[in-house]
Each structure stands twice: as structure tokens, then as C-alpha cells.
Amino acid sequence: MGANETMRTIVDSRGSSCPGPITDLAIAYRRAKVGDEIELWATDPGVKPDVRAWAAKTGNEIVSVEDQPDKIVVVRVVKR
């Protein structure tokens, strides 16, 4: 892999309660490089508004939010 290539990280926070998923996302975000994609899997019922609040507060953009059949919310963020 070249030095300029971006990475995609999956953060599995299924089963973790607030503020676990948002913390897992923040930690992965800190470790990521600009352009990297982070995909968060979560089951906490508050995760959708919480991720939007995190993005607004930290100046990031949510690429997509998806509901999956097994009650998993998948959120994609690209580090700015």
C-alpha cells in the first residue's frame, strides 16, 4: 500500500451503551489520517442523533447512515 492511500476502519461497538459508541468513534477518528474512512457499527438506540451531534461539534461530515436488519446502525465518516 502506498503512503497516500487511505484506509477504511471498521469500529464494532455493537452491544455497547452510550457513550461507548461515540467514544469508540472518537478514538478511531484520532488514530485515522485525513481521508480515511471510519465505519461504525452500533446498536445503542441513541447512536444516530449522537453521531450527528459529534460531527457537528467536531466539524465532520457523515457520509451515510444505514439501518441494517439486525438493528445495527452503520455510520460512515471520512476524516477531514
Binding site: C18, P19, A26, T58
Partner: protein, 150 residues
Amino acid sequence: MSQTVEIPSTEETGEIATGKLSIVMFSGTADKFIPLGVLAQAAAAMEMQVNIFVTGFALLGFTKRPHDLPFPAEFVGMAAALAQGMKASHVAPWDAMLRQAKEMGAKVYACSMMAGVLGLGKEDFNDLVDDVVGAATFLQRAEHGQTLFI
């Protein structure tokens, strides 16, 4: 005459300028430590600067010699169910949440006056406590941010 307020830039302070949460942790009952952990961890994850000022009987939750934090009398009957529910929902204990917040930059200060009143010296506090300070230090650190009293 117009006034200009100079706010230090992110480069100058080395901090990400997305706000600040300060918490006065006063209550010494076990139930109140849960929101302390949750809000400190969430705020730190939001890249906020987090300052916690521990005073009153809450200091007993931060000593090397562990104290059993009591439940408020009106909720004693629900304490066991709460503990069970937290375990089932995989909610971390308050001190683990605070430790996580500290790893992301949160600071915890013990109140020098109440520490003295309770006969606690710097050496009596565990590693969650960053420093023992007075009210003026906390107020100065809390300035221009949101402050909660728990």
C-alpha cells in the same frame, strides 16, 4: 469605542477549539457518579475540554482507600436492579468512564478546602485526581464554557 476580545487560536493553545465542559462534582451518592462518567466521557469524545472539580462528599469516591458510596435513601430499594440493568446493558462503571475521558484529555481537580475539612491530603487521592486546587483555579479554567453542578 469598540472592544475586541482576543480568543487564542487552536494553533496557539494546542487545543481543538470546540468548547468546554466543566463539572462541579459535589454529591457523594453512588447514583450521581453515573452521569459524571457518562458526560465526561461523551464531552471528551466530542473533542471538548473537560474540567472536573470534585468537592464535598464526592471526594470520597476518589480516595486510594476505597469508600462504599451510599445510595440516596429513597432509591436504596432499586440499587440492586440498577446494578443488574447496567451490567446487562454493558454500561461501564463510572470510574472506567472517567478514566476513558482522562485518556482523551479530561482533567480532575480535588477541592483543597473540602479535602482539608475531610482530613485528606494530596497523597490520599487515587490516580484519577490530577491536582488539588482551590475554587479560583477551577473558576478560571471553567471560564467561557458550560458548567454543570452534580
